[in-house]
């Protein structure tokens, strides 16, 4: 019995020693853990938690990207803000085309995510400041027609651009979101740097897009601003349709 008790005590002592060693090694290893920043603010802690819960599956913990999502290195605050504030991210299915929707996060949470992504993947395009009151409508119309109308439609109501991609309607976008889209070129949209669209162009463009949202519909129903397709449909179905009903009601049936 005594021999047995002695064996048990030795076994326990060995387990404890191994446990201690593991704990010490773990402590040492922990002290060498990657430090995101020496002074971690509450915002970054919140951002990190949100990032790990919502973004890391596809964009990876280090923001380097996975097969399901692109790298976020150097995308910058403009892209993060645009994708989150317009509800395009997070995507339920990584193969979907990101579409505008209800944003999943509050603006405070978005700021936290921007700060956190900025800390692990610094650089990139800053959030542009867009001041519509500094813009000029005529210049904005010109910038829009020359650079944007080819895909988004002359009425800014959106159109398809091939490859299953849709240039969306611009009406729901805020001036800041317009500026972000111009600067980062989300999806298949080209990126327009200040050498193509300078700050004054950008302010004017946003001013024009805000203006045509509620103006430019002189002449009645706008028919979705898709042009001749809707007009032809109305002419045939409503115009000719009413007249044929009149003929049918007033003419002989046999």
């Amino acid at each position: 019995m005594a021999a047995t008790a002695n064996t048990e005590a030795r076994l326990l002592s060995r387990v404890l020693r191994v446990g201690l060693a593991v704990a010490v090694l773990g402590q040492i290893a922990w002290s060498f853990r990657p430090e995101p920043s020496s002074a971690q603010s509450d915002q970054q802690i919140q951002g990190r938690a949100l990032y790990e819960a919502n973004c890391s599956t596809c964009h990876a913990l280090d923001a380097g990207g996975t097969v399901n999502g692109p790298s976020l290195l150097e995308v910058g605050p403009a892209a993060v803000d645009f994708m989150l504030a317009t509800g395009r991210m997070p995507l339920a299915n990584p193969n979907d085309q990101p579409e505008r929707g209800q944003p999943k996060f509050t603006s405070e949470q978005i700021d936290a995510l921007i700060a956190y992504v900025g800390s692990i993947a610094p650089g990139g395009e800053p959030i542009p400041t867009v001041d519509t009151s500094a813009g000029d409508l005529a210049l904005g119309a010109q910038v829009f027609l020359n650079n944007c109308a080819g895909c988004h439609g002359a009425g800014a109501s959106g159109d398809s651009v091939g490859g299953g991609q849709i240039a969306p309607s611009i009406y729901p976008a805020s001036p800041t979101e317009i500026g972000e889209a111009v600067r980062i070129g989300p999806g298949v949209m080209p990126r327009f740097g200040p050498e193509t669209i300078d700050q004054r162009d950008l302010d004017s463009l946003a001013a024009y897009l805000v203006w045509i949202r509620d103006n430019g519909d002189d002449g009645g129903l706008q028919l979705g601003r898709v042009g001749a397709v809707a007009e032809g449909l109305v002419a045939v179905v409503v115009g000719l349709g009413i007249l044929i009903v009149v003929l049918r009601l007033t003419g002989a049936k046999r």
């Binding site: 119309a141 002359a154 398809s160 091939g162 002189d218 032809g232 003419g251």
Partner: protein, 474 residues
């Protein structure tokens, strides 16, 4: 009373008694589908009225000016005088916008009702001998209407219409050997030339309306002279005409229809925006907007272009551009076949007789099948012409949609032909041999509590006869 006195007055002076009296009493068949052509006529009248108003303010000049009107997003922009005058009509001229929009809606309804009229004439065989000339004039009117629409659509010198003109320019260029010369001849130089808008203007407000007015007069004179076809019950002689006399009933009804047409067009013009050129901006050669569609009557031409593979041929050292087949040859074949249809059908059926009756579509299953297949073909091409807009609303890829449409373009017309032929044949067979009612059998209870059958031969025969009688009533 007034009319009688007026007619008498004219008669006394011009000795036209027989002519006027005969024609006021002329009887016109009044089946509702025979009035579709009148819709086109009254839409054309509306086009002339609103077009005259617009021509007072439109400036057919490509000269540059700086826009200083009330439309804020264009202020200070360099635009052509033509574009500026369209903005002036839209925002400054009193009633200018409603006139412009009514004009455009009237153009769409004009071509739409001409097409509906053509479809009616086709399906009722009203183009048959001796009315082939009316048909050919009608097809020419349709082409003239499309031409009038296209030249008018191009006049405002906006970005959208400029894109359309560029397509036409390229189509003319693609004609082998003479293309370049023809393009320079008609456009007055390299696109976009300074000559273009003045030339389009002359075509739009002078040549094409004159052509349409002339052809329309001939078209109506022929109907008057040759009498209208009409549906006739079997056994009625073809010489008989039933309907309403020109005066008073037919004329008053027609005037009423004219005002209803004007009302619908004016309502569209006042309530619904069409071709907002201020959104499209002035034409610049280096830019193009989207969605870029022509008016609907050219949508099928656009559809051919969008579906056609980019084939380019080299024959005897000449390049035959990829636009030549889809933009020149195929529309040419389609319109030629359409114009010659009465002769094609007559030859196929070895039919040299003169016909004055309007047929029911069911009585000609092959023709009705071809007509329905043709409609399906054009509708599919129009869908192809609007593929980007469709793709947006259907949330599919444009390329997928094009691929599907290319297949459907060959499959659907064949199916539509087969189904139409089949329905027509069955309807025709049912009419010529109506299904007899089953013999009427009465069961009567007898004294033992069982039932006896009583066949009522006379009554069941009577029922069948009554049914046939109903059907044959005109």
């Amino acid at each position: 009373m007034i009319v009688r006195r007026l007619v008498d007055g004219v008669d006394e002076r011009l000795d036209g008694t027989s002519f006027i009296r005969r024609n006021l009493g002329k009887v016109f068949p009044d089946h509702w589908s025979f009035m579709l052509g009148e819709l086109a006529l009254y839409s054309f009248v509306m086009l002339l009225l609103t077009g005259t108003f617009l021509s007072l303010f439109f400036v057919a000049s490509p000269a540059e000016t700086v826009y200083r009107g009330p439309y804020a997003p264009m202020q200070g922009s360099e635009v052509s005088l033509a574009y500026e005058s369209v903005l002036r009509i839209s925002f400054e001229v009193r009633a200018g916008l409603v006139m412009r929009q009514t004009h455009h809606w009237a153009a769409l309804v004009f071509v739409a009702s001409m097409t509906a009229h053509l479809v009616r004439v086709f399906f009722t065989g009203a183009f048959r001998k001796p009315r082939e000339l009316s048909w050919i004039i009608g097809v020419t009117l349709l082409v003239a209407g499309i031409g009038g629409g296209f030249t008018g659509y191009s006049l405002p010198d906006d970005l959208l219409s400029g894109t359309g003109l560029r397509i036409i320019y390229s189509a003319v260029l693609s004609i082998p050997v003479v293309g370049t010369w023809l393009a320079y001849l008609f456009f007055g130089g390299e696109f976009p030339s300074a000559e273009l808008i003045p030339r389009l203007f002359v075509m739009h407000i002078l040549l094409i309306p004159a052509l349409i007015t002339g052809l329309l007069s001939a078209h109506l004179a022929l109907v008057w002279h040759q009498t209208h076809t009409q549906f006739r019950p079997k056994g009625t002689p073809e010489s008989s005409v039933t309907g309403t006399p020109v005066w008073p009933k037919f004329a008053l009804k027609s005037v009423g229809l004219a005002f209803i047409t004007f009302a619908v067009l004016a309502a569209l013009g006042g309530l619904s925006q069409i071709n907002p050129v201020w959104l499209y901006g002035p034409f610049v050669p280096y830019s193009a907007p989207s969605p870029a569609q022509p008016d609907f009557y050219a949508g099928w031409l656009e559809g051919i272009l969008r579906l056609w593979p980019n084939w380019e041929f080299h024959v005897f050292g000449h390049t035959i551009g990829e636009l030549f087949l889809p933009a020149v040859v195929i529309p040419g074949i389609i319109f030629t076949a359409l114009a010659l249809w009465p002769f094609i059908e007559a030859r196929a059926k070895h039919d040299t007789a003169v016909h004055h009756d309007a047929q029911r579509p069911r009585d000609e299953p092959v023709r009705s099948g071809i007509g329905a297949a043709g409609i399906a073909f054009f509708v599919l091409l129009m869908l192809a012409g609007s593929n980007d807009v469709l793709a947006k609303y259907l949330q599919v890829e444009v390329d997928t949609l094009n691929g599907v449409l290319k297949v459907l373009l060959f499959v659907v017309p064949v199916l539509v032909y087969a189904i139409t032929w089949w329905i027509c044949r069955d309807l025709h067979a049912r009419d010529s041999a109506p299904i007899a009612h089953p013999p009427r059998v009465e069961f009567r209870r007898n004294a033992e509590g069982g039932f006896d059958e009583h066949h009522d031969e006379a009554r069941s025969r009577g029922d069948v006869a009554a049914t046939q009688g109903d059907r044959e009533q005109p």
